[in-house]
Amino acid sequence: MSKEPENTNNSLDPFDMLNTVRDSTLKSWNTMRDASLESWSKMMIELVNSEAYSKTTAQELDSYLTLSQPLRQLIDISTTQVLAKLNMPQRADVTRIAERLTNLEIRLDDLDAKLDEIQRAIATQSASKQAIGTTNIETRLDDLGARLAEIQSAIAALSTPKHTASTAKTKGEN
């Protein structure tokens, strides 16, 4: 609709002529419409931003609220009475339950957060334990290496002077 129609009209075709007239009329009507809407819009914006409008709407709202208050009160009282007679929960009861539920949710949320913290702490601790574990293995390997080196040097020292004794000792160690 916003697109300009392609100019493929045959000027001798009465239908096309009608179309051309319609399109140009529509275009000028749209221009007029947009211009009037724009001025109308400006006028309305000025109006709603005026003090007179603020005062009028505030007064109207105030009178509506004042006048409708007795009726609302009447409806509230009668609804409460009917619900009480029917042994049904009233608005206040539902509100109380909702409040308690929200309080429970808050407590659950705090518990959830604490569990998250504990989980994180355990993860950190196990990671550090793992790191400690790896260090232990390395230390033990170092110890073993040192002890093996000691044994090796002892064997070497023994094997040189007494051949028989060294053989016996080696067998005993095995």
């Binding site: 697109k3 749209n30 819009s41 914006i45 603020s54 505030a58 608005r91 929200t102 957060a113």
Partner: protein, 361 residues
């Protein structure tokens, strides 16, 4: 039906009738159905009362993602789906694709039992818990927070009351914070009138009906909202791009929710009428809200033709905060248009992304 061509009807007329029929169908469809909005994949990771916290499923590998998660807080009236309007035109989808770990707070619709909920509850019960969850899920102790409209009021108060909570970056969009000028914008004028008594409205309705808030917002620009919008649709019925965009926006606009009575009372009385926040007189559960406590990097996005939160309501926060890293970004457009309009994707979103990206490492 015009499916079988008649030899009596000229082909050109037949084409036009077909087009008219198609337009009528389109008009009926978009004015009577709901568009599929808020389609970006997400999961609920936390709930409290009616509030839900969503985490959007990341599409960027973890190693390429920004380290600091982004937490979005929308207004209390209207649904946050405006941030995820439709595929291909969604701020959330865009930010997820840019590598952010995105979280969104959906406040939900308050029921009659929630009429006493106020800013104190939202700021000190809901936000800290949701943020705790964001931190736990993201594994980051720091976070960025974006607040829009009343969401910006909530995030500002939170940032002032809990400056050491890990808030690294604060983004405010069209934030109504300073009501010194009682002639700037219709809302301030209306509620500043001596006869206007918000307590009476709350006493009558409990929660303020969504229809009433919707009327208030639309009445600020009555011709555009009640007539202009439908004329735009009528003029573009043969343009699928505009029609689908209109359908999605109309779905969001008509999805109205009430605002909790106590919150409305606080908003109109303490903020709009008494201007307590910017004057440093607002007290939330016994704690004074001191805006100078805000130290997070601040990006303040202002819509130059905003008729709901005029620029003068959002600018002065820059002088009140202690943030050394702050930037005021003025965008041509209206309250909603700067984030959901056709130019948002080319201008506002990339700007927010580029500002945030270098502060999310």
């Amino acid at each position: 039906m015009l499916s079988s061509p008649s030899p009596m009807i000229p082909p050109a007329l037949l084409d036009q009738l077909k087009q008219a029929e198609e337009n009528a169908r389109t008009l009926l469809r978009v004015t009577t159905s709901r568009a599929n909005i808020a389609q970006t994949p997400k999961e609920v990771i936390w709930t409290l009362n009616k509030a839900k916290l969503y985490r959007y499923i990341p599409v960027v590998p973890a190693e390429k993602r920004h380290k600091i998660p982004l937490f979005l807080v929308f207004a209390l009236m209207n649904k946050p789906s405006i941030l995820d309007l439709r595929p291909g035109h969604s701020f959330i989808e865009y930010m997820v694709k840019q590598g952010y770990d995105v979280y969104l707070m959906d406040w939900g619709a308050p029921g009659p039992e929630d009429k006493d909920l106020n800013f104190d509850d939202y700021v000190l019960d809901y936000l800290p818990r949701a943020i705790r969850k964001v931190k736990a899920v993201s594994g980051s102790d720091e976070f960025s927070m974006l607040g829009w409209c009343i969401g910006a009021i909530l995030t500002t108060i939170y940032a002032a009351l809990r400056p050491d909570s890990g808030l690294k970056n604060l983004i405010l969009l069209t934030a109504p914070l300073d009501f010194t000028d009682k002639t700037a914008g219709g809302f301030v004028r209306w509620v500043s009138d001596q006869t206007f008594d918000p307590a009476k409205i709350v006493a009558a309705f409990g929660n303020v009906p969504g229809e009433m808030i919707d009327y208030g917002a639309k009445a600020l620009k009555p011709v555009e909202n009640y007539i202009g919008s439908y004329l735009t649709l009528w003029d573009n019925l043969d343009n699928p791009r505009i029609v689908e965009s209109w359908h999605a926006m109309n779905t969001w606009v008509t999805d109205i929710i009430p605002i909790a009575g106590a919150t409305y009372l606080q908003l109109t009385k303490e903020l709009y009428k008494e201007n307590r926040l910017i004057e440093g007189k607002m007290v939330i559960r016994g704690e004074r809200v001191d805006l100078s406590h805000i130290r997070a990097s601040l990006l303040n996005v202002i819509a130059l033709t905003d008729h709901i939160s005029p620029p003068c309501q959002s600018e002065s926060i820059m002088q009140k905060v202690s943030s050394t890293d702050q930037f005021l970004f003025k965008v041509k457009g209206g309250h909603i248009g700067i984030m959901a309009g056709s130019g948002a994707q080319k201008f506002t979103w990339p700007h927010i992304d580029s500002w945030l990206a270098e502060r999310s490492q």
